[in-house]
Amino acid sequence: MQESCASGMDHDLRDLAELERLILQQISESSTIDELEGVRIRYLGRKGEISALLKHIGNLAPEQRPVFGAAVNALRDKVTQMIAARKAELDREALEQSLARDTIDVSLPGEVFELGGLHPLTKALREITSILSSMGFTVYESREAETDDMNFVKLNVPKGHPARDMQETFYLTGTTLLRTHTSPGQIRGMLALEGKLPVRFIVPGRVYRRDQTDASHHPVFFQVEGLAIDADVTFKQLRGVISALMNRFFGQDVKIRLRPSYFPFTEPSCEVDISCVFCKGEGCSVCGNSGYLEVAGAGMVHPQVLINGGYDPEEVSGFAFGFGLDRLAMLKYGIDDIRLLYGNDKRFLSQFRGL
């Protein structure tokens, strides 16, 4: 009985080895997660063969139980482990397959987003505004249709003054006109501030002159006027502000020179020349071989203009400057014909879409 029992257990142990070989073969032969799961259920499921063997332990003689029990448990652990390993392997294969399956042709073009763009004059104005903002200038917008009084008389240009020849004017009526410069914005801006200090603003906008259109003239163009008034504003500071503006707009290597000139509403007055951005001052056709380009008019605000704006010239001083936005933009972007700016050809405008 004992012997038979012993030999019976030996037999069971041999069967276990055979079973293990069989199971491991089935695991390795499983090619899908489902097949592997079938193997798991077949042997490790509640009704599986290994589970049955574990239950069978109770039927063995007490002395046989530890040996056989240990062998079955070992088998269970090994199978569990092998299934997990095979599962990881199959998961990896499946992922690799799905990656291969989902691969796209990255060389094909992406979705098209049509970029809009700002007009080059707006781009230039934004840059100028940002530079002058950093020096404390705010933006004031003034009227385009003006009175003769604001456009001329308040700026020291009475009727019949030869300076009126400098600017051919579009009149609307005997007393109203289209502003010939942004300078009336000085007066309106000052009056709006009601004597407050400091005064520091720019007036950008359209101006109008009776000029026949050609490569450098257009009856409508843009100016930017600047005005700074305080207790101690000087010509020296005017130079500082203009230099900073030009150097940041055109580049650090641009040289500035101030040339005496005449504007009825400033005294002293000057033209602002910059060294030619095309030939670096060597002389070329753009600068008429002078090496310099005239870019702005400026000066110390005339005492009468301060009075007209509600300020006392004995108490405060100020400077003003004005430049053609078109000219600055044309110089910066190398545009040689002003008509391009107002022609709005898509092929022209599209080139300014970037930074």
């Binding site: 094909l108 073009p109 987003f113 700002l118 705010t138 579009f170 009526t173 009776r210 000087t234 040339r259």
Partner: protein, 821 residues
């Protein structure tokens, strides 16, 4: 003004070459626009002595002479009166060149060889044949033979072309420029003797150089309108012989841009160019009754001016007249009848002061912008008239043997007291930002003939009293003296400073900030910004169907437009943008989405200030064609109503304006069935739509175009600062709802009804419109995605079903809707 270099250097010996001088003058405010080398192209013309002269053997009046040039002997044939033995003249031997590329060759005159030619001034300076009564050039007796013409005369020279600002009337004469240059170079100024004697340009003005001469009784003078002509000086010169001017004077006039005529006229021009004071010479014997009256024109008066043109004289033109009628237009041009001719024996030189504005207006009306007028209208030295007249008379006397009659015919209503201005050093420093000493200021001002009184120097508040020469009509106050000091110091000598005090800058006006954000939004939506002309034509408006019934068809006109194309102010942005679209279509551009922000103008209403037009800011948008090309991913994206509406939706979202309605049917230029008025908060802020086919036809545009305008002022007035609602912790829930409504029910109303009725509804999006079976004919199915956002408690299925029923009840009632199952 053109300033010949050698002429300038007659008055001041400049230590610079012309380039340096031009630069220095420019940087001191006397702007030299261009420096030109003016060459005549005369070569190999030399002085020669006429050794012997014999009559031509066969040709009467012609003579055959032998000339010695020092290097060779030449046989030359000439009929000139000065071609006499012993005279020294200029000869152009074979191979010599005269102006105009004229090359001299030996030739035969009736069988006699002539080896070159002897030349007159006209031949030397212009290459043209002698003028009537013109003799060959006769050189001073001591002249050696063989001296090149260019060493004897100022043939080739640099010319500075000045572009003077209107305040620089003191530089309208070469002497004025010389004074500036002399001051810059710190060299003395050499005045012609007569002018020096008259203290021309002195701090207290010029004086009569002949103060003790008796008044001239021969001419009567009447100045009935002293405001227009306050000062008139007539200087008589008798025994005048006709002559041409000396070669150098003719050449200088030519270099300065004038045509030499005869000595008397040339001298008046020469002295004007020298001093800036215009002069006129009358043939005194042609002036009726020896009487001159300077008065305003009478209606219908005419005058044949020097240029031979009969001119009607506009009202308020000041005229020089004699008892028989006008003989000159004051300050502008003389009359033909009294012109100086070869027969003139007595000359009356007019040196006057006319009111600048009167001359200016007359010259503009007559469209006669003469050198004289351009000077008078800028304002001249009101004291220089006698000195300058005397200078001219002396020149005529010395060059043409005339006899200046002592004294003047003169009337003077001007009482010139030179201005005295206190210049405070504190003002100089306050304006320039640099300290300049009173001593330096004095030096600078004295060099340009200001008088500086030293007795007001004070150590505490130094200042100087400055007497302004009357010719400096540009100097009115202290700041003008600051400029005078500054420009002679050099504008670039004061250094660079920063504005003191940190002040926050940038765009502070919320409206302007909004505009920039709108610009960015439109760019991000693919819009290209345009800037179009704000001057357009009435036709541009008419083509959009804006006729006189429409405010937009009643634009503000310009009084004197350059062309009808640019004759009125725009009443909308769309006309300009439509033209841009049209021109791009013609260039073959397949599609565009463009926009512009700018002002539009309407006639003033009674309340507006100063009669100024109403000015408002508008956004215009226009699109046509393919905006995004078809790609392998889809597309193409076409311009059209719904694209535009989407952009507007974004824009209004940006501004936080959500109470917006699209009311069907906008007026012209829109298609009545494909357009809407955009109403925000119950007021119209714009219009959107496809253009009316009739407009497209008028505009000759072959493709559909969509347009929109928005009143920026209107929109921006609705922008309010907005708070925020903290996000709910509860998840949003989505439900779809499809309803069938009759075709005539606008989809927008259904959306609005759902939005108003649903509770906890966050958004309603239309995702499908279906008009085919099973939807019955005349109906459409609209499918919406409703997103609920519960706030305090999770919405149950019962809550959602209840809301759905509530919505359907409303839709059944208001929109004739049935639920699509």
């Amino acid at each position: 003004m053109r300033v010949p270099w050698k002429w300038l250097n007659e008055y001041v010996n400049l230590p610079w070459d012309p380039q340096e001088a031009a630069h220095r003058l420019t940087m001191a405010g006397v702007c030299v626009e261009e420096l030109i080398y003016d060459e005549l192209g005369v070569t190999s013309v030399v002085s020669a002595r006429i050794m012997e002269v014999e009559p031509h053997p066969t040709r009467p009046g012609q003579k055959v002479g032998i000339l010695d040039t020092g290097a060779e002997k030449l046989q030359i044939v000439s009929g000139a009166p000065g071609f006499e033995k012993g005279n020294i003249t200029l000869v152009a031997p074979p191979g010599a060149c005269l102006p105009g590329g004229l090359r001299i060759e030996a030739r035969e005159v009736d069988g006699v060889l002539s080896e070159g030619m002897v030349v007159c001034s006209n031949e030397l300076l212009t290459g043209q044949a002698p003028r009537p009564l013109e003799d060959i050039i006769l050189l001073p007796a001591g002249t050696s033979p063989g001296v090149p013409a260019s060493d004897l005369f100022e043939l080739d020279d640099w010319v500075m072309d000045l572009d003077l600002t209107v305040n620089y009337s003191h530089c309208l004469g070469i002497l004025g420029v010389a004074m500036e240059a002399a001051a810059l170079a710190r060299r003395p100024l050499k005045l012609p003797e007569v002018l020096a004697r008259g203290q021309w340009a002195g701090p207290h003005g010029s004086r009569d150089p002949e103060p003790n001469a008796p008044g001239n009784p021969e001419f009567r003078l009447d100045l009935p309108e002293p405001e227009a002509c306050p000062r008139y000086v007539g200087k008589l010169v008798e025994d005048v012989r006709f002559a041409y001017s000396p070669v150098n004077m003719e050449r200088r006039l030519m270099l300065a841009g004038q045509r030499p005529l005869n000595l008397v006229v040339d001298v008046t021009n020469y002295v004007m160019l020298e001093t800036g004071q215009p002069l006129h010479a009358f043939d005194a014997d042609q002036i009726a009754d020896n009487t001159i009256i300077v008065r305003s024109s009478k209606p219908g008066e005419t005058l044949v001016t020097l240029d031979g043109i009969e001119r009607e004289l506009p009202e308020n033109t000041i005229l020089i007249t004699d008892p028989s009628g006008p003989i000159g237009i004051a300050g502008i041009m003389g009359g033909k009848h009294t012109e100086v001719t070869k027969n003139t024996r007595r000359v009356l030189i007019e040196s006057a002061y006319f009111d600048p504005l009167t001359v200016r207006l007359a010259s503009q009306k007559l469209k006669l912008r003469t050198e004289a007028a351009l000077r008078f209208e800028k304002g001249l030295d009101p004291t220089a008239q006698t000195a300058v007249a005397e200078r001219a008379a002396a020149l005529i006397g010395s060059l043409a043997g005339g006899m200046p009659v002592p004294g003047y015919t003169e009337a003077n209503y001007l009482d010139i007291t030179p201005k005295r201005i206190l210049l405070r050093m504190q003002t100089v420093e306050r304006l320039l930002g640099t300290r300049i000493s009173a001593e330096t200021c004095r030096e600078i001002l004295e060099r340009v003939n200001f008088q500086v009184d030293q007795d007001v120097f004070h150590a505490q508040a130094p200042s100087i009293a400055v007497t302004v020469p009357p010719r400096r009509v540009d100097i009115h106050g202290e700041v003008d003296l600051v400029e005078e000091v500054a420009r002679h110091s050099g504008y670039d000598s004061f250094g660079t400073g920063d504005l003191s005090g940190a002040v926050p800058g940038g765009i502070t006006d919320p409206k302007l900030l909004c505009v920039e954000k709108i610009r960015d939004l439109l760019v991000s939506h693919g819009g290209l910004e345009c800037i179009t002309n704000s001057l357009i034509s009435r036709e541009d408006l008419a083509r959009l169907g804006w006729d006189s019934d429409d405010p937009r068809g009643n634009p503000v006109p310009l009084q004197h437009p350059l062309s009808s194309e640019e004759s009125v102010l725009r009443t909308g942005i769309i006309p300009g943008l439509v033209k841009v679209a049209s021109s791009n279509i013609r260039s073959g551009i397949q599609g565009m989405f463009i926009w512009e922000v700018g002002r539009v103008f309407f006639p003033a209403d009674r309340s507006s200030d100063g009669g100024l037009p109403l000015e408002t800011t508008q956004i215009g948008l226009v699109s046509y064609g393919v905006l995004k090309p078809k790609t392998w991913l889809g597309g193409p994206e076409e311009a059209g109503f719904y694209h535009m509406k989407g952009v507007i939706h974004s824009l209004l979202n940006l501004l936080g304006i959500s109470d917006v309605k699209y009311l069907p049917k906008a007026g012209m230029p829109f298609h009545p069935g494909r357009s809407a008025k955009i109403a925000a908060h119950m007021s119209t802020v714009g219009e959107i739509g496809d253009l009316h086919p009739a407009c497209l036809k008028e505009l000759d545009i072959p493709v559909p175009v969509t347009a929109c305008w928005l009143s920026l002022d209107g929109l921006l007035s609705m922008v309010k600062p907005k708070g925020f609602v903290p996000p709910s912790r509860l998840m949003p829930v989505e439900r779809d709802l499809a309803v069938i409504v009759p075709e005539e029910v606008p989809g927008g109303e259904v959306v609005e009804a759902i939005r108003q009725t649903g509770r906890h509804l966050d958004s309603v999006a239309l995702f499908d419109v279906w008009r085919k079976p099973p939807v019955p004919p005349g109906h459409k199915s609209l499918a919406f995605r409703l997103v609920y956002q519960p706030t305090d408690k999770t919405l149950t299925e019962e809550d959602l079903a209840e809301d759905r029923e509530r919505i359907m009840e409303r839709l059944r009632k208001d929109c004739n809707a049935v639920l699509r199952s």
